[in-house]
Symmetry: C2
Subunit: 195 residues, 2 copies
DNA sequence: GTCTATAAGGGGATAGAC
DNA sequence: GTCTATCCCCTTATAGAC
């Protein structure tokens, strides 16, 4: 794996982000050194600085890209006729999108405290936008008499917390298929906010 | 703050654990140095090793004590007549117990990956015992026709994940009292597992 | 664009004086 | 029980050769 010389600007950048993603997710940002990342990529540590100004930017960019992809993917979903359909769509989307990106998800909520204050604020803004999408669904359903939640903000956070729990235990090839998981969680979410 | 000489074996030990607890929770285990901990306590780094064989044991002991206190406190609750009462009691207990120990809770689920494999297994065993308590309630209620969950194990994890979400946003003195929070979450949990 | 070499500093943990 | 001093290794980031 250990390379010697040569120019690979087009592929080294993505490989650095890939390596950083996996290592940060496995060991934590603070516990991973630039040498480790370089080692995985097959370059020397100094070469990393052709692609990132510093370690912090590497983390921030991973988190920012993840949140922007999440929002973009969500905004491309088909509009739903009613709040019940929209909620079901949200549950399915959330589970499936996050299940495909376990490392990004893990980093996005474990490494918030390792962001500089400015970077933290930026990520929080994106996270808030996603939460607001769910809150809008709950409020619309409440208005139409489909849902009954005492506090839309708390219900939003409760639903997302519940769904995020999937990532801590689900493993592909386990006892349950993704369809079954989605169905089980949808059943609980639906009942939890039901009128 | 900076002390010079003297013997304080009876108070230094607890102060070290206290300092480590706060620092680990705020900055993360990997990002905190033994020198920082010593600085907060007011001793030199070398003195810490009279109380802990190494940094890892400091983390493990904090997590182990927390889990053992959680289990002991839960086991002292009054027995309930039916599963509905037991579930309500669990929800109230979980929220209130964890709300009083935000740092311990944060560490207990953020720093699992920084434990050695042996220590990790030990903490997991304790966590499993706590989850089993909730799962027993759900299974009993299912049998009595009070609850309807498709999968008791998943429902257990879903409920705990939802409740743990409280710790990420609740601040004393905020918009809602602890009673209100407990009531709102109880309402959602009750409905989510209802028959 | 990558390398080697290095600056400047912090890390965990230990030894021996007091 | 705590201190000072130290070992030895690792850290992020930069400089300059190729």
């Amino acid at each position: 794996m250990a390379r010697t010389q040569g120019s690979h600007s087009d592929i080294t950048g993505p490989r650095i982000r890939e390596a950083a993603l996996g290592l940060f997710a496995r060991h934590g940002y603070a516990a991973v050194s630039m040498r480790q990342i370089a080692g995985e990529v097959g370059v020397q540590a100094g070469a990393l600085y052709n692609y990132t100004p510093d370690k912090q930017s590497l983390l921030f960019r991973l988190m920012q890209d993840h949140m922007q992809e999440l929002l973009a993917a969500y905004e491309e979903l088909e509009p739903q006729a009613d709040a019940l359909g929209a909620l079901r769509q949200f549950v399915g989307f959330h589970i499936r999108f996050h299940m495909q990106r376990p490392d990004e998800v893990f980093i996005a909520y474990m490494e918030l405290r390792n962001l500089t204050p400015e970077n933290f604020a930026e990520i929080e803004k994106l996270r808030r936008r996603y939460e607001d999408a769910l809150q809008s669904i709950l409020l619309a359903g409440q208005k139409d008499g489909l849902f009954s939640v005492q506090d839309a903000k708390i219900a939003t956070l409760a639903v997302i917390a519940m769904l995020n729990g999937v990532m801590t235990w689900y493993r592909a090839g386990g006892r349950l298929s993704l369809d079954e998981v989605e169905q089980i969680y949808w059943d609980m979410v639906r009942k939890a906010v039901a009128a």
